[in-house]
Amino acid sequence: MNRFNQENQEDQEFRASRGTNAAIEGAKPAALPVGAGEIARAVIDRTPLFILDVRNAEAYADWRIEGDAVESVNVPYFDLLEDAEPALLRLPGEGPVIVVCAKEGSAQFVADRLVEAGRGDVRYLAGGMKAWSEHLEPVKIGDLKAGGELYQFVRLGKGCLSYMILSDGEAAVVDALRMTDAFERFAASRGARIKHTIDTHLHADHISGGRKLAEESGADYWLPAKDADEVVFEFTPLEEGRTIRVGHAEIAIRPVYSPGHTIGSTSLIVDDRYLLSGDILFVASIGRPDLAGKAGDWAGDLRTTLYERYESLSGELTVLPAHFGRLSELGEDGSVSARLGELFANNPGLNIGSEDDFRQAVTTNLPSQPNAYREIRRANMGRIVPNEAEQSEMEIGPNRCAIHDQSSTPEGEGK
């Protein structure tokens, strides 16, 4: 039996081909990195982007960087180890190209090969799809009446939306994602202390950062008690009738019980103007009732919430959901919002005639569930404690929390 040595020649060749070495030795030209933030701005601004995605075909089919002006091709890196030609054939003759892989290494490898082959203007995505999935882009939604601001944090790579309400040196974060440092940095840049973190429901598509952020900031963590039967930590129950105050005395966050996606789902009316709808109502769709395994039981609750409870609210409220399904839901500035009245006119989920049809729509032919949704729920209950690499692995792929979200993998094939 012969054992390959870990420190053999191609390692050295590989290292020698890397940026700093190449620059010092003047040996081979190397491609430069590009950050996920720059890609995010380009997607939001509809700046044309050409992406060479070198992950395997299944990963590419399941989930990739998308946008109105994004063009992408898939050539797995393992077909490019000796020769970049198969990729060169798929690229435009000129103009910038971004090479993307899961983490970074393979994209960097391929980008270097392309540069060596004489294709200029090639960069690779630093941190790969992992960084893309974790990038948060803050977008200002508006000012609060008595002074203060409301920001939406857009997680383009996953379709998640979080919120920060800032007033008079205090902040509340709603549906915080696990990248808690992004919220901490932003609050600090505004001179605000995070006083509350609020989850509108127990999430099934992403790991919540609410509890961690509350612990790190000395804030209260609010969670609907009805979603918290199995949680193993202390929290403040999010209940209708318990107003949450942030900064200026007149800034109020009012919980509205709105079950259906989960039995505890609770929406928030902020400053009498904004309706943070969690995963109950989206811009282009409505929430799905099946992620806790109770689609049949909760379909009726979902209908009552949308067709009676929300119907009774002012149509002037600006709906701010916890997710989007398609990039077409993003406005010019990258934010995702709509007036409630408009949604009652145009959202297909709010225009289903009979109760039977509604039940049918929200319980059958649903998209495949989000990746690892059972484990994610357990992690959000504190019952399992995955490390960071495991958390990132669990969150791979799109969120699929709406009934109309597209499933790019056929039913049953999802991992």
Partner: protein, 75 residues
């Protein structure tokens, strides 16, 4: 099963596990068996996809304590 070549890529990130595995297979005779060890979960999926489109044969995969071990017969 008689293993002819072992390639240890523990601790290495993509693309190195495939670079090394492919190199090892190139130097093997048809019918010989390669064992590849990797701690990179992504490498497993990529290797499976690559083997599928190559003349080589995927034999088995197992995971123990975060180390993936898979066997490939040279085709």
């Amino acid at each position: 099963m008689n293993i002819d070549v072992t390639v240890d890529t523990k601790g290495m990130a993509c693309p190195m596990p495939i670079v090394k595995g492919k190199k090892a297979l190139d130097s093997m005779r048809k019918g010989q068996i390669m064992e590849l060890l990797s701690t990179d979960r992504g490498a497993l999926n990529d290797f499976q996809a690559w083997v599928k489109q190559s003349p080589n044969e995927w034999i088995s995969h197992e995971e123990k304590n975060g180390v993936h071990r898979f066997l490939i017969r040279k085709g």
